[in-house]
Subunit: 329 residues, 2 copies
Amino acid sequence: MIATNAGRAPVVFDDVVMAARRLAGVVHRTPVMTSRDLDRRAGCRVFLKCENFQRAGAFKIRGAFNAMSQLSEDEKRCGVITYSSGNHAQAIALAGSLLGVPALVVMPADAPSIKAEATKAYGAEVVFYNPQTEEREAVAEKLGAGKGMTLIPPFDHPQVIAGQGTAALEMMEQVGDLDLMLAPCGGGGLLSGSAIALKGRLPEAQIIGVEPEGADNGNRAYRSGKIERIEQPRTFADGLRPKALGEHTFQIIRRCVDGMVTVSEDEIRATLDFLWNRMKLVVEPSAAVGLAPLFHGKLGATGSRVAVIISGGNADIDAVARWFRAEKA
Amino acid sequence: MIATNAGRAPVVFDDVVMAARRLAGVVHRTPVMTSRDLDRRAGCRVFLKCENFQRAGAFKIRGAFNAMSQLSEDEKRCGVITYSSGNHAQAIALAGSLLGVPALVVMPADAPSIKAEATKAYGAEVVFYNPQTEEREAVAEKLGAGKGMTLIPPFDHPQVIAGQGTAALEMMEQVGDLDLMLAPCGGGGLLSGSAIALKGRLPEAQIIGVEPEGADNGNRAYRSGKIERIEQPRTFADGLRPKALGEHTFQIIRRCVDGMVTVSEDEIRATLDFLWNRMKLVVEPSAAVGLAPLFHGKLGATGSRVAVIISGGNADIDAVARWFRAEKA
């Protein structure tokens, strides 16, 4: 009988531990912030893992660097390709510049120019596609294959997932025991990585994924037991608009995550307002999503110790200011 | 011969040390943030003491609580009065609520309602005056005298100054040796307190005060050797608009501060942009003023270890977003 690893889960706790070693000295050990006002409001002790202070402004560098650092010398020479108009694009660009690996990022032609500029500033090449007529995965595969490039997708990749899990791992070192962890869910990379890290170290602790109501494909998939797709996700939280979970992230979330909840746009906005105006943190709308159920007392977490991953800080200040104005109007 | 303390300076290092003891467990030990990008840009190692994360959003609670906690029981019962439409108002209100001391705050009738609301939310009473026809000091004295209240002005008070100096003291515990410290200068409370703290612990280190060009009364006073007044300070940095230094702050600045510089509105704005968009810190415009000369390479601090007091985070996000837009236009 031949031994295979076919039965092995795509990502296990040890992968997260190994990722943390690769990332040591490369990514920031981001601070954990607390607030008496927040604790009073939530009725529990809340710890915010502030990945808005991470390099390139979000947790994404953890997964990107972890995956890219394991490429062979040949693969590194040929470079990597990805598709993203958001934080993963900048993360791949930064990881590429740190590792000396050429990076090509496929972006929709209507992406905000500031995002393309930021990605180029980290040294990546940006190629635009027409989101009306082309699928980004297909564009990336076609472009990359011709050049022998390795595709590193934004979430559905074991080493990306393992890397994202290091934020939760680090957080447990910083704050000790936890009863509950909350993470926002877009494509599920952060949530699935965090779940593996949490269950590996604190098997009794629970983890809940949070989505905007208008982008609740993960909640639906969690309930139906199969990947669900939303063609037009509707939310101001631009980082949480992937149309569906990936194969890997779905399997991990189904197996390791204890629940999925949704929050309304008003709940996201009020939470974002608190994070900016009271806690003085520049965070992007997606980053408020993980905190929102707690902030609105929707979880019955009274008296417990709760960790929330604040995923990133790449916010368009002008857009956020307009959004706050709409709230007051 | 009778011993007197007539020759004693109004504030000495020991006053700051004592203030720090009174404030222990009451105020936050705010974090010190750093940035490789910032260091590269400034050509030196920069440490930002983030008082935007302080209770009530600014360093002001340090001075307010230090002064109020030393009142006699009788004085506490009669309450305190102050004049401020800014961070000192909220600080007095919060310190009052922590110490059980009634607080009355005199504000101009045209102060943003959000500031009056925030002050009331901490439990203070707010009385408005007409800034066209009345002087705030006179209004406060008249109102307070009738009720036996103690006046605690926003900066020109020895125990307020000693309290403000505790941010610098704390910072030296956090980062160790320093060559230079920068602090913004409005009425001079933060600058003079910081100077006493710095010189008491690191006599060789230098401290420089920074003002906006349109509110440079401190620079003028430093050069002329007498208090200088500007009737209409012009700057977006609303926390730095006092018309003149106080008697105490002027004397301390003249004696202990090594230099005063100014920065333009464009320099403040570019620094604020970096703090928000790159460092993900919600800081108020005044808080960017201390960093601005370093950020623009105006100090020749190459290779040194430089501390900057980030004074507060009570920014109007809408106004800041508009100000950033003006920069790009």
